[in-house]
């Protein structure tokens, strides 16, 4: 076979400005989609729990909440679906250097994700539109595939990302991929910790965000049972996942220490390889040093190897050109961990008062913090992805393909980035506005089409 593929690698380099534009556009699109994706995975769980409680107890508040959430999911799922589609475009539009060579290696999890997403879209359509046409139990059952397929989608997409961190299942000859083993590529060593970490994060984001809406409502004086349930159910779900997430995060850190020691070194701003590595919190990177950080002696060695003598690889193990931007990765890592522990404290606070008195903490600070808990969780997820993605730099495919070789060499990517950034700005404003509309709409909530038989009267 003639190696026509050589044209896929021998592209002229993009200008530095275009490379920055492409990376920023990808970060923006991913950062936007991940919030919707978390809601898409987590909210069906909340909706099903609350609908199930409604059927079990016959309590009207539960049913009202279920319909309200279903309505929100209808809107959010649409935004999630299209913002996810854009990402599949952008993989080719911005990173053809990766897709042209490695597309066949990581295609399998994406193909499977396409199927899972299909199932999710189909059953969400059935769930939303068949609400009053099937018996309650059958309706509840029709929602289960939405939850299962949504979680599976998250797993499969993160499998593909995990491959970029731990590329397996192929050989390279003259820049052309051969001996591809798609299953080995899909189930690469980074899969267990990345997928678990993300799926748990999705349930936390969804739970804390939804709970935050009702906490804000309670702060405004809506102290009824409807708001209390709307707060407690999602908050409890998220709170249960929070300690689990901290354990999973610890597991992920250990795996990264093995698979991508440079990433962990950047996350901890550890410049010198050695035993007794400290855990550094905060600080400023100047040259090859981290200053003004709070150091926990032996902390990193203990976390990585349960032994203060464990040798942890520092940034000095790789040449400067192969290091990620340390400051960004380190601060993002601290941000993620900080938010995680803040959410753990908040969860423990509610856990304690509920255990002692069966009520919410009396301090208004609890609700104030709870109202923002969703924001904290979103910040943690964004920071976590910053660690994953920026921490992998300068590689797109770790150890094989540099980001500067993956980018589209076509001129003018800057213009595209500006347009896309404007679109996302408008989209963010409008999405938030519409979510407020849904929250305030006093019309008897949802059954999706009962609304629509009552069209607004034209003025």
């Amino acid at each position: 076979m003639a190696t026509w593929q050589s044209v896929l690698a021998a592209a002229g380099p993009a200008t530095p400005a275009d490379l920055v534009a492409a990376r920023t556009q990808m970060a923006l699109s991913l950062g936007w989609h991940i919030v919707l994706a978390c809601l898409g995975v987590g909210m069906p769980a909340l909706m099903l729990i609350i609908e199930w409680r409604g059927i079990r107890t016959g309590d009207a508040d539960y049913t009202r909440l279920a319909r309200q959430w279903a309505k929100a999911i209808g809107v959010l799922f649409a935004a999630g679906a299209v913002s996810g589609t854009i990402l599949s475009f952008e993989l080719g539009l911005l990173w053809p250097g990766m897709m042209g060579t490695y597309g066949q290696v990581i295609g399998l999890p994406f193909a499977a994700e396409g199927i899972a997403f299909f199932i999710e879209a189909i059953f969400l359509g059935i769930y939303l539109y068949a609400w009053d046409r099937v018996p309650p139990r059958a309706h509840l059952l029709s929602g289960i595939p939405v939850l299962v397929a949504g979680t599976l989608s998250a797993f499969l997409v993160v499998c593909a990302n995990a491959w970029m961190n731990a590329p397996r299942g192929f050989a390279l000859r003259d820049g052309v991929v051969n001996r591809v083993s798609p299953w080995r590529a899909m189930f690469n060593p980074a899969v267990p910790h990345e997928t678990l970490h993300m799926i748990v994060a999705a349930f936390m984001v969804a739970g804390f965000l939804v709970a935050g809406v009702y906490a804000a409502g309670m702060l405004r004086g809506h102290r009824d049972r409807y708001h209390l349930l709307g707060f407690l159910v999602p908050f409890t779900l998220a709170a249960v996942f929070t300690p689990i997430q901290i354990l999973v995060g610890d597991f992920a850190g250990k795996r990264v220490a093995t698979l991508q020691p440079t990433k962990l070194a950047a996350a901890e701003a550890l410049f010198r390889t050695g035993a007794g590595a400290p855990l550094s919190v905060g600080g400023i990177v100047t040259g090859d040093r981290l200053r003004y950080s709070i150091e926990i002696p032996y902390g990193l060695s203990l976390l990585v190897g349960h032994n203060p003598g464990t040798v942890v690889q520092g940034l000095d193990a790789v040449p400067r050109a192969a290091r990620p931007p340390v400051m960004i990765v380190h601060l993002a890592f601290d941000m993620m961990v900080g938010m995680g522990f803040l959410l753990l404290l908040l969860s423990a606070w509610l856990g304690y008062t509920w255990w002692r008195r069966r009520e919410l903490p009396r301090s208004p600070w609890f609700l104030r913090a709870a109202a923002l808990s969703g924001v904290f969780a979103v910040v943690a997820v964004e920071a976590g992805w910053t660690v994953t993605e920026v921490g992998r730099q300068p590689w797109t495919v770790y150890g094989h393909l540099r980001t500067s070789d993956a980018v589209n060499p076509a001129p003018g990517l800057w213009t595209g980035f500006v347009v896309v950034a404007l679109v996302y700005t408008v989209l963010t404003v409008v999405t938030l506005y519409v979510m407020r509309l849904i929250r305030w709409s006093e019309r008897p909530v949802a059954p999706q089409e009962r609304d629509r038989t009552r069209e607004p009267e034209p003025s």
Binding site: Q104, V419, T431
Partner: protein
């Protein structure tokens, strides 16, 4: 048949379904644009919304399915197409965002001005998205996307007669498909008066498509001789069948046999798409890159086919249920109050 060819056929089936299903959803958006002022257009827009609402997200997934198959099985082709055509495809992507979110947001909107704003965004993006996708198709078909990263001209690859023809035809075909479906759906919903409104305009659209297609013959002969030769030789039976089905669909629409209008319109689109495919087979990127050269390794192709087969077994019955729900939703809520 080798595995690469099977994957190619599966992918083309995906493109066909995307055109038939999502194409009609885009067309519905275009009808929304033409539906008239707020009060007079309310019932028409209501019908469009009811007919698209439950299914558009599932229909949209066919695009993702096709993109993923393309980059998995023919990675180099995907990279070449996306890098050279990044301008029209970025615009199509923006159109997809605007269409999907605006449609969903309109449902949640309460005030007339909000519905107008979201409706406008929904309608305009429904026209622009198929247009840009059509220009991309024209670019590939006329051999303006060479293999390699951004090797084609990033402007003239899609700003040329064949691409413009592709864009215009894509929009018009979407409009006609949607018109045919909406006539049928209107009768299903017990609103023959609405069907009549769509029917008259559908007839106009059909005549226009015929005129553009006839003019297109000259454009292709001059601008894309390779494609023209393919269409007039190997693809000829399908091209002729497409023309016959188009005329047949027009006659049936005239005579108000709506279910058959729907069927013939769909078959017409199928013949156009498969006629194009046949005209350039086995070449994927004209003039010379064949699907065999572009194909991924056999292990990848087999794994992809296995996953697709499992997916098809799961999706087919679920899809049937969804369509049944959609039909019932139309009947239940479509009756005049």
């Amino acid at each position: 048949m080798d595995t690469a060819r099977i994957v190619l056929v599966v992918m083309w089936v995906g493109i066909t379904l995307y055109a038939l299903l999502a194409g009609a959803d885009f067309g519905g958006g275009a009808w929304d644009l033409l539906a008239g002022r707020s009060r007079t257009g309310m019932a028409r827009r209501g019908l469009i919304e009811r007919s698209i609402g439950p299914v558009w997200e599932a229909n949209h997934v066919w695009l993702i399915f096709v993109l993923v198959l393309l980059w998995t099985a023919f990675s180099g082709v995907f990279a070449s197409v996306m890098s050279t055509l990044y301008i029209p495809l970025t615009l199509a992507a923006i159109g997809i965002i605007a269409r999907g979110t605006a449609f969903a947001f309109r449902k949640a909107a309460t005030e007339l001005w909000q519905r107008r704003l979201f409706g406008g965004a929904f309608a305009v993006s429904s026209v622009l998205t198929p247009f840009f996708l059509g220009t991309a198709a024209g670019a590939i078909a006329s051999g303006r996307v060479p293999p390699g990263l951004a090797r084609g001209d990033i402007l003239t690859s899609w700003l040329n007669p064949t691409s413009l023809l592709g864009g215009v035809l894509a929009v018009m075909v979407c409009v006609y498909l949607a018109g045919a479906y909406l006539c049928d759906d209107a009768v299903e919903a017990g609103r023959p008066d609405l069907a009549e409104w769509f029917r008259v305009r559908g007839l106009v659209a059909a005549v226009l498509i015929g005129a553009v297609a006839l003019g297109g013959i000259a454009v292709l002969r001059w601008d894309a001789p390779g494609l023209f030769t393919g269409l007039t030789h190997r693809g000829l039976p399908l091209v002729v069948a497409g023309a016959v089905l188009g005329v047949g669909s027009l006659v049936l629409l005239w005579r108000r046999v709506y279910p058959l209008v729907r069927a013939t319109a769909m078959l017409g689109v199928i013949t156009i798409l498969w006629g194009w495919a046949l005209a350039q087979f086995p070449v994927m990127l004209p003039p010379s890159l064949t699907y065999r050269q572009a194909a991924a390794e056999p292990s990848v192709l087999t794994a992809t086919l296995v996953v697709t087969a499992i997916g098809a077994a799961l999706i087919a019955p679920s899809m049937a249920w969804l369509l049944a729900v959609q039909r019932r939703a139309l009947r239940d809520t479509g009756t005049p109050e």
